[in-house]
Every structure is written in structure tokens, then in C-alpha cells.
């Protein structure tokens, strides 16, 4: 139902920028659920995000919190139940024919699962060149295509001779690079990266991250970067959005979120990340969350994190938490969180 969009102002990025240009990507109140009746699962619950040209938005959160679902909505693979998605002010779900194709070309995705997202019967070259079979004008002739494929392969750290190999002959990390090369094939404005480096080893991860940053600085590509590796998110993102059970619970500039988390969940997440220091035993500082993540079929009332929160009180069960906005001094987005008892800066760890 693309027409029934709600535009409730909830915590999150503020739309009013200094210039009149709409941002590259603006998502408002997107809700998506699967199944029906009693077995209805709310994967996204009123998510807002916003992203400018050439920017990177990091998206973190526990497994199953809806990150991939959001990515799929952004790519038009799922239609949201409610809410709006706008690219440069345009609703992709309303596009048809040529316009749709043009939009498709501007937005690409790197999938989470490098095994499933590549057709095992196509060689690396076919896979990378696949987008051009629909967008024939991008690289018109066969010679140029071959050349471009070679460029893309070396860009992501693969060999040119790998072009003729099939996915099963690559290890997980190598496949993921093919996926990245494929996403780059159309020179998109925005790439939604769903855990693009989690299957990669560090040296390749570094290569890939470098490629992504370089493209950004050179071509102004914007990223929505989903990852559970916080050091990577921290390295690559301008802003970070933290999700929990389908809702955005914290959003802000990267430093703000990482260094001064407001939401207890964010704090726990940060503390759980292992650090590369063999001399430091980190367990003591780690906030160990109790229990399992609640079933998405049965989301807790009030604050959805309360079942695992060490700060939870009765109020958390009854009232939906308010948006806490911590204004920042310099430029950039405000640091918002949904919590009754937000953490003070640095109170939780270190």
C-alpha cells in the first residue's frame, strides 16, 4: 500500500537539512511483518533512517533484529506494510518501466550470504557481468565488458584468471568479493552492504574496506553498511543506527554512539566486542546480557529490551520508552535513543 504512508516524526535523523535537496535516501516509519494471524512476526516496526549522498550509515543489531529485512525493503525486494521509502524524494515502489530500471541501476546490494547469493552455475565473469544484461547501455560491447570485469576483479582483490571459475571453487571470502564486484558493476549511487565482510579474513576485509572507501571518495557512493563487527562499522560509518527487535533504538554520529552510548543495549553490544589485545582479559568489563532475544512473534510490551536489561524497572513494561535526544555540539545528526533510563556518557563501561 504505497499510498498509505504515515509520516509521524519519531526519533531518528532529522529531515530538515540546510539545503532544500531531499536526502539521497529517506525512510520513514517503515513497518514490515511476515505471516498472518497468531503467527505474525513483526520484522520492522516503524523504522526511520536517512542517508545523504556519499555518506555511510552503519546498521548494527542483534541477529534477527530486522537488518536484512530493512535492506530488502531498501532494495524494493519487499514492499513495506507501512511507511515511506524515498530516493531523492522519489518513491521506488511507484516506479514502472524505464524509471524503475534507472532507479535499479542506482541502488545495489551486497548480500549477507555469499553462498546463496551467487548462482552456482554461472562463472565469476557471468556473475559480475550479469547486471549489464539488463542494463545493456552501461558497458555496450563485449570487449569493454571483458576489460571491465578484469578491472572489477582486481578491484576486489581477485585474480583475472578467476573469471572463468565457478562459485564452488572459491572459498567463502572469495565469493563475497564476487558479490561486491557485481554490486559495483553498475556504478551505483547507493550500495546496501549486508554484512559484506563478515565471511572475510582480515587481510581481505581490509582490501575490501579500502575499495569501498575509495569508491566513496572517488565516486561519491553512499553505503548502508550492515555488520556485527563493530570495529568495522566504526571504521567505515559516518553515522550509526542500532536496531533491536525491529526498532531503531539508537542513532547518532559514529563517535557519539560508540563512545557515549545512551541505550543499555548499545552499551552491551560495545562491551561484547572482543579486542585485539592478548594481554587484556576483557570478560570483567563485558556486560553479559541475560536470557535470549525474545521471540519476534511475541514482542515484549513497553520497552522491548526490558527482558534482558539490567536497568529495567516496572515502568519499562508498561510505557513505551521516549526518544531521548542528546544534541551534539558540532555539525551532524543529533544522538537519539529510545530509553526510559538512558546511560550517561561512559557510565556503563570503561
Amino acid at each position: 500500500m504505497p499510498e498509505s504512508r504515515t509520516t509521524t516524526a519519531t526519533p531518528g535523523p532529522r529531515a530538515d537539512g540546510p539545503d532544500a535537496h531531499p536526502p539521497l535516501l529517506e525512510v520513514r516509519g517503515v513497518t514490515k511483518s511476515f505471516g498472518s494471524g497468531r503467527r505474525r512476526l513483526t520484522a520492522l516496526d516503524g523504522v526511520d533512517i536517512q542517508l545523504g549522498r556519499g555518506q555511510t550509515l552503519g546498521l548494527v543489531g542483534e541477529s534477527g533484529c530486522g537488518k536484512s529485512t530493512l535492506a530488502r525493503v531498501l532494495l524494493g525486494l519487499e514492499r513495506p506494510d507501512a511507511g515511506t521509502v524515498r530516493y531523492d524524494g522519489v518513491d521506488p515502489f511507484a516506479l514502472r518501466g524505464k524509471d524503475l530500471l534507472n532507479w535499479r541501476r542506482r541502488v545495489q546490494m551486497v548480500f549477507q550470504d555469499p553462498f546463496a547469493s551467487l548462482n552456482a552455475r554461472m562463472s565469476a565473469a557471468d556473475l559480475i557481468g550479469e547486471p549489464w544484461r539488463t542494463h545493456r547501455d552501461v558497458v555496450p560491447d563485449a570487449k569493454a565488458r571483458e576489460k571491465r570485469i578484469r578491472e572489477l576483479l582486481s578491484l576486489v582483490g581477485l585474480r583475472e584468471s578467476d573469471a572463468h571459475r565457478y562459485p564452488n571453487e572459491f572459498s567463502g571470502g572469495q565469493r563475497q568479493r564476487i558479490g561486491i564486484a557485481r554490486a559495483l558493476a553498475l556504478d551505483p549511487d547507493l550500495i546496501v552492504c549486508d554484512e559484506p565482510v563478515s565471511a572475510l579474513d582480515l587481510s581481505v576485509q581490509a582490501q575490501v574496506l579500502n575499495v569501498l572507501s575509495e569508491l566513496q571518495s572517488r565516486l561519491g557512493v553512499a553505503y548502508v553498511f550492515i555488520s556485527h563487527d563493530l570495529s568495522v562499522v566504526r571504521y567505515i560509518s559516518d553515522r550509526v543506527t542500532v536496531m533491536y527487535l525491529g526498532k531503531v533504538i539508537e542513532h547518532g554520529e559514529t563517535e557519539d554512539v560508540f563512545d557515549r552510548p545512551q541505550h543499555p543495549y548499545t552499551a552491551a553490544l560495545m562491551s561484547a566486542a572482543p579486542v585485539l589485545d592478548t594481554s587484556r582479559a576483557t570478560d570483567d568489563q563485558e556486560i553479559q546480557l541475560k536470557g535470549e532475544i525474545p521471540s519476534p512473534f511475541d514482542i515484549p510490551s513497553g520497552c522491548r529490551f526490558r527482558t534482558r536489561c539490567w536497568r529495567a524497572e516496572d515502568r519499562c513494561a508498561t510505557e513505551a520508552p521516549p526518544a531521548v535526544v542528546r544534541e551534539r555540539e558540532g555539525a551532524g545528526d543529533a544522538h537519539t535513543a529510545l530509553c526510559h533510563f538512558p546511560l550517561e556518557a561512559r557510565s556503563a563501561w570503561a
Partner: protein, 336 residues
């Protein structure tokens, strides 16, 4: 460290000793050597981390140790010794006797590694049925205990659930429970947390360590995550293109790597990297398995490469203090 069962090796004798393991791989365009002379050993109670670029043969090594290689691959040389016997020369039946009580493995892919049509309790109890001859009921009882141990809430009810009714993290824990069921001497964990998010990952790693302490296992941990290695492992083996390029105690290796590849790997951690500045990555990519150069396998990407590296393959030389590296010029690195 306590020695539990009678035939278990003494504390000094390694629980698992891999020597010169070679694995060949059949592809449509010929036979490749995917693992080339890998050696390492690990004692009970210790954790050995296997590090390396993706595709360098870590999983192959792990699979050949437990004898579960794909039909496309074949062990062509070396020895894998547990309890003093070479498993590669055992009959299938003898090997089956070891699988579970002595050697155990946890795979990366928890989504598909559990049988989707069997209740998890049955699957977790299966080792007891196979090796201890328990009845189905008794085995399920044991399974419930194990599930409690790995922190599955309401284990008695959940034992009757099917894998798809569990989240990824829980499934990974079930796999671990299954792997440690018979208190194996050696537990191999092939990227047990890669698919999981940080909080769950931390839980799993904690669980593994607790179990290791409790049961005095030797653990071989395969992972990409240097931070995990740094925190959890005692020793580390760094592989590159099917060969071991460096090994030694984690702390030492990480603080002063003696192989340029290890150095490059450690440098690429984005931990303290500054946003906007390129990460110091190792340029290039590893050689193709079908065309590994005759000299050093790392020559094409090595900042220190000399003429000798092209001619002569460096062997894994001991560099003292229980470490070794396969580099002609490892001393230079130390100094650098």
C-alpha cells in the same frame, strides 16, 4: 589439568598431532594440492588457533583430521595422530570409534548442520547411543543435561523441538553440546561464531572456554577474528596457500610476528584505524592452487621479497621460544 580416562595421553604428549598433512583436490581442470604439508599439535587443555586468509585450506585441514573430507578431496600424505595412533591409516570402523569420544568437530554452518527432521534432543543424545549403547530414553536424558549445560532454557521441552525452531545462536550451542557430549580429547571448532552477532558470539566463546576448562579438552579453533584468537587461544598457527607460514604462542606471535604475512594480517585490523584513512592491507591475492610458484608461496605479495624467495621455498624453521616461521628473512621482521 587432570587426566581423566585411562588411555588418555599424558599432559606432555599432544592430544592431537598433525604432521605433514597433504590434501589433494580434484577439479574439472585437474588435481590441486589444497593443503601442503601442514603440521601442528595441541595438548589437552590448550587452545590452538588456526588463522589464515580465506581459502588457504583451514577447513580442509580440519575436515581431513576428522576424516570428513568431501569426495572431491583426498588426503595424500602425512599423519594425524591421536592417542598415539595415526587415524589416516585406520579402518573406517576404527575411525568411527574415535569419532565422538576422542575427536569432535563443530562446524560453522549451524543452520544446516542439524538434521532438520529430527528433534534436537535425539540428535544430541545420539553419541551416547552410538558409543555408550544407551537406550533412547537414557540418551535423551543425557541430551537434556547437555542442553542445560550449554544454557538452553527449558531444555526438557526444547529437546522435543526441531532445529528450525531455534535461533542461530541456540543452534550453534546445540552443535557444541553435541560435540562435547562424550568429553572428547580434541575439539575442532571451524569458525563457530562467524555467522553470529557479537553478543551471541561472546556467549558462545565463553561457553567453549568453560567447557574446555571443565573437560580438559584440546581445542583447535579456526577463525578469522584476530581478537577472538588473541583472547581465547594459547597457540596460533598461521596458514597461507595451504602451508603453515608461522606458529607459536599467541601472545608472542601477535606482538612480534616473524612472517610478513602474519604481520600484514595484524596490521589490517580496523580496530584503531582512523576513518577515511586506508587500512594497511596486504596487497594482491594468494597464488592460485593450480599454479603455486616453486619458491616462497608468499613471494608475490611480500614486501621483503628477494631473489632467493623465488628460487627456494623456505621451510618452517624454528626461531626459538617454541615458535617457527617459514621465511628466509624472518629475523629482519623481528628487527623492523
Amino acid at each position: 589439568m587432570t587426566t581423566t580416562s585411562a588411555p588418555a595421553p599424558s599432559a606432555t604428549e599432544p592430544a592431537l598431532d598433525v604432521e605433514g598433512l597433504c590434501v589433494d583436490l580434484n577439479t574439472a581442470s585437474g588435481t590441486l594440492r589444497a593443503v601442503d604439508g601442514v603440521s601442528f599439535s595441541v595438548r589437552r587443555g590448550r587452545t590452538l588457533a588456526l588463522l589464515g586468509e580465506s581459502g588457504c585450506g583451514k577447513s580442509m585441514t580440519a575436515l581431513s583430521v576428522v576424516g570428513l573430507l568431501d569426495p572431491a578431496a583426498e588426503v595424500t600424505g602425512g599423519a594425524v595422530r591421536v592417542r598415539g595412533k595415526d587415524t589416516l591409516r585406520m579402518s573406517a570402523a576404527e575411525r568411527r570409534k574415535l569419532a565422538g569420544p576422542v575427536l569432535s568437530i563443530v562446524f560453522q554452518d549451524a543452520l544446516t548442520a542439524l538434521n532438520p527432521v529430527q528433534p534436537v534432543g535425539r540428535q544430541i543424545g545420539e553419541p551416547f547411543r552410538i558409543h555408550r549403547g544407551l537406550s533412547r530414553r537414557q540418551a535423551e536424558e543425557k541430551a537434556v543435561e547437555l542442553m542445560t549445560r550449554v544454557g538452553i532454557p527449558e531444555p526438557r521441552q526444547r529437546a522435543k523441538s526441531y532445529p528450525h525452531q531455534f535461533s542461530g545462536g541456540m543452534r550453534q550451542r546445540l552443535l557444541i553440546a553435541m560435540a562435547v557430549a562424550l568429553d572428547p580429547d580434541v575439539l575442532i571448532a571451524d569458525e563457530p561464531t562467524t555467522a553470529l552477532d557479537v553478543t551471541v558470539q561472546a556467549q558462545i566463546m565463553r561457553l567453549l572456554r568453560d567447557l574446555q576448562d571443565e573437560r580438559d579438552m584440546a581445542v583447535v579453533l579456526i577463525t578469522h577474528d584476530l581478537a577472538v584468537v588473541a583472547q581465547r587461544a594459547d597457540d596460533v598457527v598461521v596458514m597461507y596457500a595451504g602451508t603453515v607460514v608461522e606458529n607459536g604462542p599467541v601472545h608472542d606471535v601477535f606482538s612480534s610476528p616473524r612472517h610478513p604475512y602474519t604481520r600484514g594480517l595484524l596490521d589490517s585490523v580496523p580496530e584503531d584505524a582512523e576513518r577515511g584513512r586506508p587500512l594497511p592491507a596486504v596487497p594482491g591475492s594468494p597464488p592460485e592452487l593450480s599454479a603455486v610458484p616453486p619458491g616462497c608461496v608468499f613471494q608475490a605479495r611480500c614486501p621483503l621479497v628477494r631473489e632467493r624467495c623465488v628460487r627456494e621455498r623456505p621451510s618452517l624453521r624454528s626461531t626459538g621460544d617454541g615458535r617457527s616461521a617459514a621465511c628466509h628473512f624472518s629475523e629482519e621482521l623481528d628487527r623492523a
